[in-house]
């Protein structure tokens, strides 16, 4: 028996840590998805797919990426408790702080996304702004004409997308005080989940039929790989220490198990995987249901990890095991 009596009831700390509500999971999900968008559109530019199809989704998704990232940063901003001092993020670089890395990575991500977006100015903009975009259009066509330039933009987007995705995971996993988060594989889980959400989104809006199938197949690959990474995430936690094992059990059979199994694994991975496998094999038509479920699963993953992580703690391992 272990009984703890404390006179402390600090808000957001007691009875269990709950410093981060909906804002951080939403931010981590959007950041991960934008990372996926950057990697996928960067890869399309790198491999020259944008030449194969004028409707290549690498021209459509970056603008959406900018919008989503801005939404995510808004959520992050809403979470800050001392908002007037937000500018302090940009008067220093703290090498040991993943959040500082993230703040500076975001500064680089915007121009990289904008560079992809600038490769093709939407027809509707040209009409809306009449001749006033002429220079931009000219500039855009010149870059698009240069294989070296598009390839470089592609590589930069893949690298920055990778860094962005990795950082969303390292942000949590560097906080060793919460055993569920201190897995050295969390970043991979978030990168793969971000890739699957991005592929799902691009698949949903893709106009080119070949690319639609390609993205659906890629998404299936990401989802299957995500299941693998989940398995390795849990094997890793289970073989780290008692505190980490108990943290894993929070998801596998504890308080967060229903949310984890139903929303993250079932509705977020298994069901859309089955639907998309049938779609690519031509058994059923492509439906937006699967991509929406995948994105919902990605969001659910961040909610479950952020909440359960705050719930997990080292004290569990301190109560002596009961002899009977």
């Amino acid at each position: 028996m272990l009984e703890l009596t404390t006179t402390r009831h600090n808000p957001m700390i007691d009875p269990t840590l709950h410093v981060w509500g909906w804002e951080i999971p939403v931010y981590l999900f959007l950041g991960g998805m934008v990372a996926g968008i950057m990697i996928i559109s960067g890869y399309f530019l790198f491999s020259g797919r944008h030449r194969a199809s004028t409707q290549c989704s690498c021209f459509q998704v970056p603008l959406v990426g900018i919008a989503l990232l801005t939404l995510g940063m808004l959520a992050l901003f809403l979470d800050l408790e001392h908002k007037p001092f937000t500018w302090r993020l940009y008067t220093t670089f703290e090498i040991k702080s993943p959040m500082s890395w993230g703040a500076w990575i975001l500064v680089l991500v915007y121009p990289a996304l904008a560079a992809v977006a600038a490769l093709r100015i939407p027809e509707s903009w040209r009409i809306a702004f009449k001749g006033r975009l002429a220079r931009l259009v000219l500039f855009s066509e010149r870059i698009r004409g240069s294989a070296a330039a598009t390839k470089t933009i592609g590589i930069v987007n893949m690298l920055l997308g990778g860094l962005l995705g990795i950082y969303t995971g390292v942000l949590l996993s560097a906080l060793g005080a919460r055993p569920l988060w201190s897995s050295s594989i969390l970043w991979l889980l978030f990168v793969v989940s971000g890739l699957s959400s991005a592929a799902a989104f691009a698949h949903m809006i893709a106009r080119d039929p070949y690319e639609r199938v390609l993205l659906a197949k890629a998404d299936n690959g990401f989802l299957i790989f995500e299941l693998f990474v989940f398995a390795l995430f849990f094997i890793g936690l289970a073989s780290t220490s008692e505190a980490h094992l108990r943290a894993a059990q929070l998801l596998l059979g504890g308080a967060f198990a229903p949310a984890f199994w139903v929303f993250v694994i079932g509705l977020g991975i298994i069901i859309p995987l089955i639907v998309q496998l049938m779609a690519v094999n031509g058994k059923i038509p492509h439906t937006p249901m699967a991509p929406i479920l995948v994105m919902g699963g990605g969001l659910a993953l961040r909610f479950v990890i952020v909440s359960a992580g705050q719930f997990s703690h080292w004290m569990n391992a301190h109560g002596l095991p009961l002899p009977f």
Partner: protein, 179 residues
Amino acid sequence: MARFAMVIDTRQCVGCMDCVVACKTENGVPEGFNRDWIVQDVNGIYPTLHMEIRSERCNHCDNPPCVYCCPTGASHVHDLGGVVLVHHEKCIGCKACLAACPYDARFVHPEGYADKCTFCIHRVEKGLQPSCVAVCPTYCMYFGDLDDPLSEVSLLLTSRKYHLLLPETGTQPHIYYLT
């Protein structure tokens, strides 16, 4: 160089909470918040129970995860005695430090910045003791410099058995509990 630490004798502490009240008064800690607190830790199986009463606070670690994760440098190690402090006007309230602390020793001040025990550095710099130590009616709390082998805290640690809180997290805490 000095390295401040606190040594607390759990065999003397009666859990009167004078240290908590003194801290709140001295530091103007807002209502509903605590920079220090009392834990009554009861272990064992009835009828053989063992109780330890502890006055807990920030451990002013040698390996402070709250300082490492801070994106603005607001959380920092003070020049004097390795005390972990927060620059209020640099803190953006991101709460990473709250999540990073295995002792849950930090909280968000109603004004928005992360707040916590300072070892009453404003008193220590004047040669006074931290307020919690100063008021303790059982004299169970000791504050001093571990870099001085003849200080009261150093001598206590060579003559008594003690334990630390969550040493396995690698923080290297600096509150020692005599047992």
